[in-house]
C-alpha cells in the first residue's frame, strides 16, 4: 500500500472521492492552492477585461463606449475584483498554500480544515460581491475605497459589495493565521528560522499583516453598513461624524494590504534570482530583516494616502517621514537581488526574465512612490493618473510580474509538465512592452493634470490616451499568450523532471507533481548547514 501511495501524485490520490468532490472536500494544501488559482485566474480575466473597457472609453474625449455611470461602475468593480479577489490573496493563497508546507518540510498546513474553510469564505465573498452587480440598485460606483460620505449616500448597490469585501477579509485573516501557526509549529527538524527559504519568510511577514490589519477594515466596512442603515454618525458630518476618520480606518488596513500583496512577491523573486544566478542569495540575513522591517514599518505609513484630505500638517509631516523610512528596506532587497546576480553563473530562463522585469517595473513604481510620499509633490499629482500609474507599476508590474514569475517557476513542480519556453518568452515580451506603453503615459498625463476616475477629459490629453489604450491592447494580447501557453503546458507539455531549474529548496526534492503528503518521511535538516535559498 505504502509503495503504491508513494507512486501516486496528489492529482491521482483522490481519497475515494470523485469528480469535483475530490477538490471541494479535499483538505490537501496543494489542491486548495490550485482551487484558489483557478478561481483567481477566472476573475483575473474578468478584471483585465473590465480594465480594457476603461481604457477603451478613454481612447477619445467624451462618450466613446460607455457613459459616466457605467464608467464609475467599471472602475469600481475592476478595483474590487483586482484588489480583494486577486492581488491580496493571489500569492499567499496559491503559492503559499501549495509550497509553504513543502518548503519547510511539513506534510500539510497546521489547520487543514480551516484552510478549506478559508477557500469557502473566499468563494462566498466573491458571490456576495457578484450579487451587487446584478441586483437592485446596480453595480457600486464609489471606487474600491468605498470612501465616506458617498458610500453611504449612493443609491447603487453598496451593501453586498461591502459585505463581500468583509467576508473576503475573513478568509484572508484565517489564511494568515494558518500560515503563521504552520511556520511556528511544523518546520522539519533542523529547519531553523534563519535557514528558512525566503519565500517562507515573506509568507510569515505577510501572515502577521493579514492578522493585524484585516480586522480593522472588517470593522470599518461594518461601520459603513451601520452608518448607511442606522444613521449612527461615525462618518457623516451632518450627524456629527468625521469623513476623514473613515479614510484613516480604511487606509490603516489598505496600506498594509499593499505589503500583503508585495511581500510574497519579493519572496518569490528572492527564490528565483539565486536559483538562476546559481549562487546563494547575497545577504540572506539582510533580506530576512528587511522583510520583517517592511511588514512592521509598512503598518505605520497609511496616511500618506490622505495628504490632501484636510488632516493636520503635523500628521502630514509624520507620515511623510515614515513613508520615506519604508523605502529603505525595499531598497536593501533590490540591492541584494542585484548583488546576487553579480558574478553569478546566470541561466536566463523564463522565470528569471519575469524576475528581471519585476526589478525594472518595481523600481519605477518605487521611485514614483517617493514623489507621492513627499507632501509637496503629492499635492500636485494627487488624484491624477500619476497615482494610477504608480499603483499599477507597483501592484501589476511588481506583484503581477512576480505572480507570473512564480507560475513559470513552479508550474513544472505543480503539474509535472513544462510549458513552451519560446511562447512564454514571446508572452512576457508582449506583456512588458504593452505594460509600459499603457502605464508610462499615465505618469505624464497625471503630471500635466489629468484627473483619474473621470470618463471624459480635455482635448489636450488625447494623444497620450490613444497611446495608453494601444498599450492596453498589446498587454492584454500578451496576457492571453502567457495564460494559454501555461494552460497548454500544464495539460500537454513535456514531462518535467523533479528539479528542472536545479533549485535548492525542499520542493525540488519531492516528485513532480508531489505526492499527497509531500514526503514519505519528514526530512531531517539538522546536518545541513546552509539555508536553501
Amino acid at each position: 500500500m505504502s509503495e503504491t501511495a508513494a507512486q501516486l501524485n496528489f492529482f491521482q490520490e483522490t481519497q475515494g472521492r470523485k469528480g469535483i468532490l475530490a477538490w471541494i472536500l479535499s483538505t490537501d494544501h496543494k489542491r486548495i492552492g490550485l482551487m484558489y488559482m483557478y478561481t483567481i485566474m477566472v476573475f483575473f480575466i474578468v478584471g483585465v477585461l473590465l480594465g480594457l473597457g476603461i481604457k477603451m472609453e478613454l481612447i477619445a474625449p467624451g462618450l466613446t463606449v460607455m457613459g459616466p455611470q457605467a464608467y464609475n461602475s467599471f472602475f469600481t468593480v475592476h478595483g474590487v475584483i483586482m484588489i480583494f479577489v486577486i492581488v491580496i490573496p493571489g500569492l499567499p493563497a496559491i503559492f503559499g498554500n501549495f509550497f509553504l508546507p513543502i518548503m519547510i518540510g511539513a506534510k500539510d498546513v497546521a489547520f487543514p480544515k480551516l484552510n478549506l474553510f478559508s477557500w469557502y469564505l473566499f468563494i462566498i465573498g466573491i458571490i456576495t460581491v457578484l450579487i451587487s452587480l446584478f441586483t437592485f440598485g446596480g453595480p457600486p460606483d464609489t471606487g474600491w475605497t468605498f470612501y465616506a460620505p458617498y458610500s453611504f449616500k449612493t443609491t447603487t448597490n453598496m451593501f453586498p459589495a461591502v459585505l463581500g469585501a468583509f467576508i473576503l477579509g475573513f478568509s484572508s485573516i484565517l489564511t494568515g493565521l494558518n500560515f503563521i501557526t504552520t511556520i511556528h509549529r511544523m518546520r522539519a527538524p533542523g529547519m531553523r528560522w534563519m535557514k528558512m527559504p525566503l519565500f517562507a519568510w515573506s509568507i510569515y511577514g505577510t501572515g502577521w499583516i493579514q492578522l493585524f490589519a484585516t480586522p480593522i477594515v472588517g470593522i470599518t466596512l461594518l461601520m459603513i453598513i451601520a452608518e448607511r442603515f442606522l444613521k449612527i454618525g461615525f462618518f457623516d458630518p451632518a450627524l456629527g461624524g468625521d469623513p476623514i476618520l473613515y479614510q484613516h480606518l480604511f487606509w490603516i488596513y489598505s496600506h498594509p494590504a499593499v505589503y500583503i500583496m508585495i511581500l510574497p512577491a519579493m519572496g518569490v523573486i528572492s527564490e528565483i534570482i539565486p536559483t538562476f544566478a546559481r549562487k546563494g542569495i547575497f545577504g540572506y540575513n539582510a533580506v530576512v530583516i528587511s522583510t520583517m522591517a517592511i511588514a512592521i514599518v509598512g503598518y505605520f505609513v497609511w496616511a500618506h494616502h490622505m495628504f490632501t484630505s484636510g488632516m493636520s500638517t503635523t500628521a502630514q509631516f509624520v507620515f511623510s517621514l515614515l513613508t520615506f523610512f519604508v523605502a529603505i528596506p525595499s531598497a536593501i532587497k533590490v540591492f541584494n537581488w542585484v548583488a546576487t546576480l553579480y558574478k553569478g553563473s546566470i541561466r536566463l530562463e523564463v522565470p528569471l526574465i519575469w524576475a528581471l522585469g519585476f526589478l525594472f517595473l518595481f523600481m519605477i513604481g518605487g521611485f514614483t512612490g517617493l514623489f507621492l510620499g513627499a507632501v509637496a509633490t503629492d499635492v500636485h499629482v494627487h488624484n491624477t493618473t500619476f497615482v494610477v500609474a504608480h499603483f499599477h507599476y507597483i501592484i501589476f508590474g511588481g506583484m503581477g510580474s512576480a505572480f507570473f514569475a512564480a507560475l513559470h517557476y513552479w508550474l513544472p513542480k505543480m503539474y509535472g509538465r513544462m510549458y513552451n519556453k519560446y511562447w512564454a518568452t514571446v508572452g512576457w515580451a508582449t506583456f512588458f512592452i504593452g505594460f509600459n506603453v499603457l502605464y508610462f503615459p499615465m505618469f505624464i498625463l497625471g503630471y500635466q493634470g489629468m484627473p483619474r476616475r473621470y470618463y471624459d477629459y480635455l482635448d489636450q490629453f488625447h494623444g497620450l490616451n490613444i497611446v495608453s489604450t494601444l498599450g492596453a491592447f498589446i498587454m492584454v494580447a500578451g496576457i492571453f499568450v502567457i495564460i494559454l501557453n501555461l494552460i497548454r503546458g500544464a495539460r500537454h507539455g513535456e514531462q518535467a523532471t523533479m528539479n528542472p531549474w536545479e533549485g535548492r529548496s525542499l520542493e525540488w526534492t519531492v516528485p513532480s507533481p508531489p505526492p499527497l503528503e509531500n514526503f514519505d518521511e519528514i526530512p531531517d535538516l539538522t546536518k545541513s548547514s546552509a539555508h536553501p535559498a
Partner: protein, 94 residues
C-alpha cells in the same frame, strides 16, 4: 498534544474577577455623573481597558499561556497603541 499544559482557575478567582468587572461597570456608569470635561472619555476608556485586561488574563487564560502567545498578543497591543498615537497626530493638531 502531551506537551500542552492545562490550567484550571479556581472558582474563587473567577468570582473575584466577576466582582471586579461588576464594580468597574458600576464605576463606568457612575463616572458619567461627575463632570470631567474632556477627560470623561479618557476615564471611560481607561476603565474599559482595565476590564478587557481582566477578561483576557483570567477568562481567556492569557496569564497562564506560553510566552510566545503572550508576546504575540502584546505585539498586537503595541501596534494598536501606535496606530492610535499616529492617528492623534491628525486629531490633536488639526
Amino acid at each position: 498534544m502531551s506537551e500542552h499544559k492545562t490550567h484550571i482557575t479556581s472558582y474563587t478567582t473567577h468570582f473575584m474577577v466577576l466582582l471586579a468587572l461588576l464594580i468597574l461597570t458600576w464605576a463606568t456608569v457612575s463616572i458619567t455623573n461627575i463632570n470631567l470635561g474632556p477627560y470623561s472619555v479618557t476615564a471611560a476608556l481607561l476603565i474599559a481597558c482595565l476590564k478587557a485586561t481582566l477578561v483576557l488574563l483570567y477568562f481567556m487564560h492569557l496569564k497562564f499561556d506560553s510566552k510566545i502567545l503572550k508576546i504575540s498578543f502584546s505585539a498586537v497591543m503595541v501596534v494598536f497603541a501606535l496606530v492610535i498615537l499616529l492617528t492623534f497626530f491628525d486629531y490633536l493638531f488639526r
